[in-house]
């Protein structure tokens, strides 16, 4: 008999109505007091204030307008608000590192207001360039897609994830465009010539 572990529950698409469960205010509900994921870094959290905007484009180049996008990031010192980060207890009050947005029903744009993350310790003492982890679900996406966004002004040449990407031009799919001071544009392409690099984490 082979050794058996219980297997993970299989994924299914979030469908078009994910907002009802995950972002009820967007779906028009007022019955819950707290909408989760609406404050990545509160007003008193130190760090450079930034805005990240973008679209999720399908294989025909059309923006998906029914997507939910989640982000997870470290604070400006590279610390995660999580008990397993050895420095996790040091993050400022009001820093969650977690954000949720939907792509607008008309424009397809998502938007996050946050702070720029710091360098995060990596494996074997190798630092990771500042990055924001993304997770995308929608109708037509059978299992949530993980990716990362990096910043164009940073040295990303030794980042352990970016350096694993074989084709140099594909690394660029993970690097946001700086459109103004503190403003970043990060489009995610599900398919096609410039398909974003998605991660199996």
């Amino acid at each position: 008999m082979p050794l058996e572990y219980p297997k993970e529950t299989p994924a299914q698409t979030a469908g078009p109505f994910v907002h009802i469960g995950a972002m009820p205010r967007i779906a028009g509900f007022t019955c819950f007091d707290v909408e989760l994921g609406q404050q990545i870094a509160g007003p008193d959290v130190p760090g450079e204030r930034i805005v990240i905007e973008g679209q999720i484009l399908d294989g025909t180049g059309t923006p998906c307008r029914d997507t939910m996008v989640e982000v997870w990031q470290a604070d400006d010192q590279g610390r995660y608000a999580h008990p397993e980060d050895p420095r996790g207890a040091e993050v400022a009050d009001g820093f969650t590192g977690f954000g949720r947005a939907h792509t607008d029903f008309d424009t397809g744009l998502f938007r996050f207001e946050t702070i720029k993350p710091g360098i995060v310790p990596g494996r074997h003492g190798r630092d990771q360039a500042p990055h924001v982890s993304f997770w995308i679900v929608a109708r037509g996406i059978n299992i949530g897609l993980h990716t990362r966004m990096y910043f164009p002004e940073d040295n990303t040449s030794t980042d352990p994830v970016l350096s694993m990407i074989e084709q140099p031009h594909r690394r660029d799919t993970l690097i946001a465009e700086r459109t103004a001071d503190g403003q970043y544009r990060f489009d995610i392409r599900l398919q096609g010539d410039r398909e974003t690099v998605f991660l199996d984490v």
Binding site: Y5, P6, K7, E8, T9, P10, A11, Q12, T13, A14, P16, F17, V18, I20, G21, A22, P24, A27, C31, D33, V34, D58, G59, T62, W72, A74, Y80, A81, H82, P83, E84, D85, P86, G88, V120, P121, G122, R123, H124, G125, Q128, H131, S133, A138, R139, G140, I141, N142, I143, G144, L145, H146, M164, L190, Q191, E195, V197, L199, D200, V201
Partner: protein
């Protein structure tokens, strides 16, 4: 403990491209995913506390207006564990569903079945110390969706689960034992192995029902397990 997670078995999950579910065709990456080793960025993830939740958040029968929703009164309960069998405590579960007639309360749902003025269709809760959770709701109806001209979804409840870290993040759907639409449902059928789909089918749990009040279904959820590090494989620092 900063141990890494078991790799995800991608053959067990639905693939990205499933042509019988037409929307997946233009929304599926065609290049391979880049497999990366877990770092702090992946083993950490958002955590939630009871302070964010309200008292009726897990009661979909009452949480929209305080007046009871129409439909088969149903308890949905179960346990969240990982692939080593350990309970996942403090996991946030969010659920959403159609009403008993198969209609969602959402601007984008144009199905002709009527809304129920007392049913919203969203709920959430945290698992307890042993990984258990419970919701109360009405059984959702089947509904048609645009795929083939006569495609139907079997009755289902959407589940979003946050485990201990980003690696365990999962969205799935729960089905009900004995649903005759199972073999026709193009979304359920994106899962290649019928044994995997079985795992989403909640059996009737008569012992957990409330006599003269509600039936019950049991839906257990398994999230990715993690290594017990006999040999250290340090994730942060050298």
């Amino acid at each position: 403990m900063t141990a890494e997670y078991f790799q995800r078995d991608r053959r067990w999950h639905p693939p990205a491209l499933t042509p019988d579910y037409k929307t997946s065709v233009a929304r599926s990456p065609s290049l391979p995913l880049l497999s990366i080793e877990n770092s702090l960025s992946e083993i950490t993830g958002p955590t939630f506390s009871h302070a964010a939740l309200g008292g009726l958040d897990n009661d979909l029968i009452l949480n929209f207006t305080g007046e009871p929703a129409i439909g088969e009164r149903t308890v949905v309960h179960g346990r969240v564990t990982d692939e080593t069998g350990r309970p996942v405590k403090g996991a946030l579960l969010e659920v959403w569903q159609a009403n008993a007639g198969g209609r969602y309360r959402h601007v984008k749902d144009g199905y002709l079945a009527p809304l129920d003025p007392n049913f919203g269709g969203c709920g959430r809760c945290l698992t307890d110390e042993d990984g258990f959770y419970v919701f109360r709701t009405v059984k959702p109806g089947a509904y048609p969706f645009r795929n083939y001209s006569n495609s139907w979804r079997m009755a289902h409840i959407h589940f979003s689960i946050f485990g201990a870290g980003l690696t365990q993040r999962l969205i799935t759907q729960m089905y009900f034992e004995g649903d005759p639409l199972r073999d026709q449902d193009p979304i359920a059928q994106t899962i290649p192995d019928p044994a995997a789909l079985d795992r989403l089918v909640a059996p009737l749990d008569l012992n957990a029902s409330v006599p003269l009040d509600s039936l019950a279904y049991r839906f257990d959820i398994v999230l990715r397990g993690r290594r017990q590090t006999v040999f250290e494989n340090k994730l942060e620092g050298a």
